[in-house]
């Protein structure tokens, strides 16, 4: 029998049709080859519609039995609609990434029994998980909205901060598989409705401080909104804004609320997703806050923990027309390989999602239209998001978790679907992105009302998997079974002079003349946390030409001609 082989990856095929299909699948990012082949065979050129990315829904086989509860009673309090985020972390340092889901709580008029609590699942490998919330004492009963993970006391184990509606909590990892609450009124931040939360080292003293975004000043007596004769969730504009909080880690186990002295209290909007990153690569960490229905914040750090709000002056406050958006989730990565960190944010319905390209001169351009990432997002409400290389081809693709807030309008308004499919966009050579959801496997056909999502390698196969928290439902676990011949490397950073989690440290790899840059973040996406192992797709490279690590404390290391491996750990030199 004649055996055909793919001329590029040598994958054997028995039939010509299969060879052709494989050729188009294997080389969608080689436009000329795909185009040439199509022309030669008289086929319509389908370049741009093919993708290697492939997700399968394996939720039922994971052992995860968590069901999200938003505390709803039918009265439609806005806080229900915006819950909740989730986190991935290796809490027991066994090399497998564990999962932590936030949950709502009973609100006025609701009586869920037993009362909902957050849930933690230990990764046993091969996509199987074991519930350990009670054992680990992480089953917080507060109304969970946002979460960040980081080692606040530099003891080598990841702690968890919960931004709740009500008192916030910091759960200290005892290092023995259990957590203890960090008792502090400062940590609680009052009884506010929280949003996202991030940990970062704001003044370079080697420990993690905490930025807590807040959403609305809520009371149960706020009048209900009605639409088409039904009680529906009213938007944030109906509520007073709540100022964010900034907690300085004093390094002795105590925290001080420095919101006023740091400048953070100078402005207030309706805060949702938040990410701490160094937008201008000046060595200190700044904070970007996605605010709902109003301008976004970019808090520029002066390096000493004093902040100035410069969102408008950097082009990040609004979309390309100067219109405020219902900004929700955020991720940061270098999408075009120019060595600068770009920002992607999700938005509310009747708006396009937004990709801000970093121009390197302290300014960002809303490049959404040029990149094509807005296509098909206008009617959708988007929440969680991640920029990650799902097919290991060396550029960052995009995942968006969707779901409307309105749970009772599907029958009267075709633009409102409470449960809808999520989207995945394939990055084409760092120039534009294409929505490939329809061709990216059965995992993309799940219909839920998604909120937070995370992207991490759950089974250590070098491919980034996805977990999505669904409002009022079970989470979706998507195994990445992309048909890619490419490998990846994952990088763990251990700070010694810098904070132990290495938040704010950067890694650049150079492969076949192309550079990829990632920065370590503690908290991102939609009020979630993920990505503590930095993942680089390597395309067809046989070796990594160079590794460069910029530690947050200021030192830089470079390693050349690093042999191929699956993971690598860098420990900061003291």
């Amino acid at each position: 029998m004649m055996v055909h082989c793919c001329p590029y990856c040598r994958w054997p095929q028995r039939q010509l049709a299969l060879v052709l299909r494989h050729f188009l699948t294997c080389f969608p990012k080689r436009p000329m080859q795909a185009f040439g082949l199509a022309v030669l065979l008289g086929l319509p050129c389908s370049y741009g519609q093919q993708t290697r990315i492939w997700f399968e829904d394996i939720s039922d086989a994971t052992g995860i039995d968590f069901v999200h509860c938003d505390g709803s009673s039918g009265d439609h309090y806005l806080v229900e609609a915006v819950a909740s985020g989730l986190a991935s972390l290796d809490y027991d340092r066994d090399g497998l990434i564990d999962l932590y889901f936030l949950n709502g709580a009973n609100l006025r008029g609701s009586h869920y029994d037993p009362p909902p609590t957050n849930a933690m699942y230990r990764n046993l490998g091969q996509f199987t998980f074991q519930s350990i919330g009670d054992i680990a004492r992480t089953a917080d009963a507060g109304f969970g909205l946002g979460v960040a993970v980081g080692d606040v006391d530099n003891d080598g184990f990841d702690d968890i901060y919960l931004n709740n509606f009500g008192a916030n909590r910091l759960l200290h990892n005892n290092g023995d598989g259990t957590y203890s609450p960090w008792e502090s009124d400062v940590i609680a931040c009052g009884e506010k409705v929280g949003g996202g939360v991030v940990m970062f080292d704001m003044e370079g003293d080697g420990d993690l401080d905490i930025y807590v975004a807040n959403y609305i000043q809520f009371t149960y007596d706020s009048p209900a909104s009605e639409f088409r004769g039904r009680v529906v969730y009213g938007g944030p504009l109906l509520y007073p804004k709540e100022k964010d909080d900034l907690l300085r880690n004093n390094g002795d186990g105590s925290f001080t609320n420095v919101s006023s002295s740091s400048g953070i209290a100078d402005a207030a909007e309706w805060g949702m997703g938040v990410i701490a990153f160094d937008y201008d690569a000046d060595g200190d960490t700044d904070v970007f806050v996605a605010n709902d229905s109003t301008k976004n914040f970019l808090w520029e750090n002066d390096g000493h923990g004093r902040f100035t709000e410069i969102g408008l002056l950097t082009g990040l406050a609004f979309d390309h027309r100067g219109t405020p958006q219902g900004s929700m989730g955020i991720d940061v990565a270098d999408v075009n390989g120019d060595g600068l960190l770009d920002i992607f944010q999700t938005t509310y319905t009747k708006q396009l999602v937004t990709l801000y390209e970093n121009l390197g001169n302290g300014f960002f351009e809303d490049a959404t239209l040029r990149w094509g990432v807005g296509k098909g997002t206008y009617y959708l409400v988007n929440w969680g998001t991640a920029l990650a290389d799902f097919d290991n081809d060396g550029d960052k693709d995009l995942f968006i978790a969707n779901g409307h807030i309105h749970d009772n309008l599907d029958d009267v308004d075709e633009t409102v679907s409470y449960r809808i499919a999520n989207q995945v966009f394939d990055n084409i050579d760092g120039r534009f992105m294409i929505d490939v959801s329809a061709r990216a496997g059965p995992g993309m056909r799940v219909l839920e009302s998604s909120r937070g999502m995370l992207a991490d390698d759950l089974n250590n196969d070098g491919l980034i998997d996805v977990v999505i928290l669904n409002s009022r439902g079970r989470p979706t676990v998507l195994a990445n079974r992309s048909r890619t011949p490419y490998r990846s490397i994952q990088v763990e950073l251990v700070g010694t002079v810098s904070n132990r989690s290495a938040a704010g440290s950067r890694v650049e790899i150079e492969v076949a003349g192309k550079k990829q840059l990632l920065e370590m973040h503690c908290g991102k996406g939609y009020q979630s946390h993920f990505g503590s192992r930095l993942h680089f797709g390597l395309n067809a490279a046989e070796q990594i030409d160079a590794f460069r690590v910029w530690w947050h404390a200021g030192s830089k290391e470079e390693f050349r001609s690093v042999p191929m491996r699956e993971t690598i750990i860098f420990i900061e030199p003291q």
């Binding site: 109906l238 301008k295 002056l313 027309r321 100067g322 405020p324 351009e365 098909g376 009267v412 534009f432």
Partner: protein, 404 residues
């Protein structure tokens, strides 16, 4: 089959001369008629006009509804009735398409607009509706195709080049957007939206100096325009001129703050019933236009009136009602509507001129003169006002002669 006799076409110049002569003669006859009529009626007196919307017959037209859904249900019944009555009317299907669009039933809207186009392939509202839907759903190529179809049919509708340019921009075809807008701007030199989009197209192509020039030109027409100020701030930011960027962004910020307050106020003021009333009013109005098109003036009047009873004081609907009333000989009522229009916008030159004519028709000379004088005072250089001034001058001369 050819008859053998071919009529030689007139030259374009000769045709134009004939046309101009005809128009001038018509205007002259009208002016003489108006002068004579007003001169004779100058001293006549009048009784106060009844308010149109207080008349018992109009009051009885109020749409009875108990709830927002009830009102929308009645609206749907009405538009369905129009479609049943005119099953071969593109306008009827188009009206129902718009209603379905307004209540976010996209598929039904699409079906109605497609039916409208089947009935009349040149039905522009149907094609535009489909183009807008395609644009919103991110099917930019389809939106572009539909806009190109429309552009070849009609050069006049300014919405078409703007949507086409927006679709090109959204589809990453900034070069095509730029060309479309440049063509449009040669006709609509002060179209702010076109200038804003052109600035965006240049910026998307990295032509920052050109974008800056376009935005600065736009700023001459609208120095307070928030979007233009933002565009300039963006361009200077990208050019690395932080100081200039800050200057424009600060101006933008001031306007954005008031817009934000307005948004909050709108959100707090939103009520379900008002939303439903707006949809119903628009749909009743669209149905009225269908009846008008088919010569059913009583139904047209009733539906526009119902639309205005639901959402009063919408100028375009008041104008339409006035036209219908005038057409059906209800001059006093048309005047009442005109008074309402000028009370909403006292600087509406067009309406003062209309009122001048209407008062003259029912022999209210003093009011007619006042209306014409008001128009002339507001826009002395407007060609229509120049004609009105000539009429006023003639009247004064005529009145003087009568006294002597």
């Amino acid at each position: 089959m050819a008859t053998g006799m071919v009529r030689k076409p007139r030259s374009a110049t000769a045709q134009s001369a004939v046309l101009v002569a005809s128009v001038l003669s018509l205007v002259a006859v009208l002016c003489i008629w108006l002068v004579l009529r007003l001169t004779m009626l100058q001293n006549s007196r009048h009784s106060p006009l009844p308010s149109y919307f207080d008349s018992p017959s109009v009051v009885s037209w109020k749409v009875p509804y108990q709830s927002p859904d009830d009102l929308l249900s009645l609206t749907e019944q009405k538009v369905d009735e129009v479609v049943r009555e005119f099953p071969n009317s593109a306008a009827a299907f188009s009206a129902r398409g718009k209603y379905h669009y307004l209540i976010s039933k996209k598929n039904a809207a699409k079906a109605d607009w497609q039916r409208a186009i089947e009935l009349d392939a040149s039905w522009e509202d149907g094609i535009l509706g489909l183009a807008e839907l395609a644009f919103e759903e991110g099917r930019y190529e389809e939106a572009i195709d539909l806009c190109l179809q429309l552009r070849t049919r009609s050069q006049d509708d300014p919405r078409v080049p703007l949507l086409l340019a927006d679709a090109y921009l959204s589809n990453g075809q900034a070069q095509e957007a730029m060309l479309t807008l440049q063509q449009h701007i040669t006709k609509e030199t002060t179209s702010l939206q076109a200038l804003e989009l052109l600035g965006q197209a240049h910026a998307a192509l990295g032509q920052l100096e050109e974008a800056q020039a376009v935005y600065e030109k736009a700023l001459q027409f609208a120095p307070d325009n928030k979007e233009i100020l933002y565009g300039l701030g963006q361009v200077y930011g990208r050019l690395g001129d932080r100081e200039k960027s800050r200057q424009y962004m600060d101006q933008f910020r001031q306007r954005a703050v008031s817009k934000a307050a307005e948004n909050v106020s709108k959100a707090k003021g939103f009520t379900d019933i008002e939303h439903a009333k707006h949809i119903a009013a628009q749909t009743f109005f669209d149905c009225a236009l269908v009846y008008k098109m088919h010569g059913n003036w009583p139904n047209a009047e009733k539906l526009v009136a119902q639309s205005l009873l639901l959402v009063p004081d919408v100028a375009v609907r008041l104008y339409e009602l006035q036209r219908i009333l005038h057409q059906t000989g209800k001059i006093a009522e048309a005047i009442d509507i005109g008074q309402r229009i000028v009370s909403l916008d006292p600087e509406d030159v067009n309406q003062w001129l209309v009122l001048g004519g209407l008062y003259a028709e029912i022999e209210m000379a003093e009011e007619s003169l006042q209306a014409f004088r008001r128009a002339v005072a507001l826009a002395p250089d407007d060609p229509r006002c120049k004609r009105a001034r000539a009429i006023l001058r003639s009247i004064n001369e005529g009145a003087g002669a009568l006294v002597q």
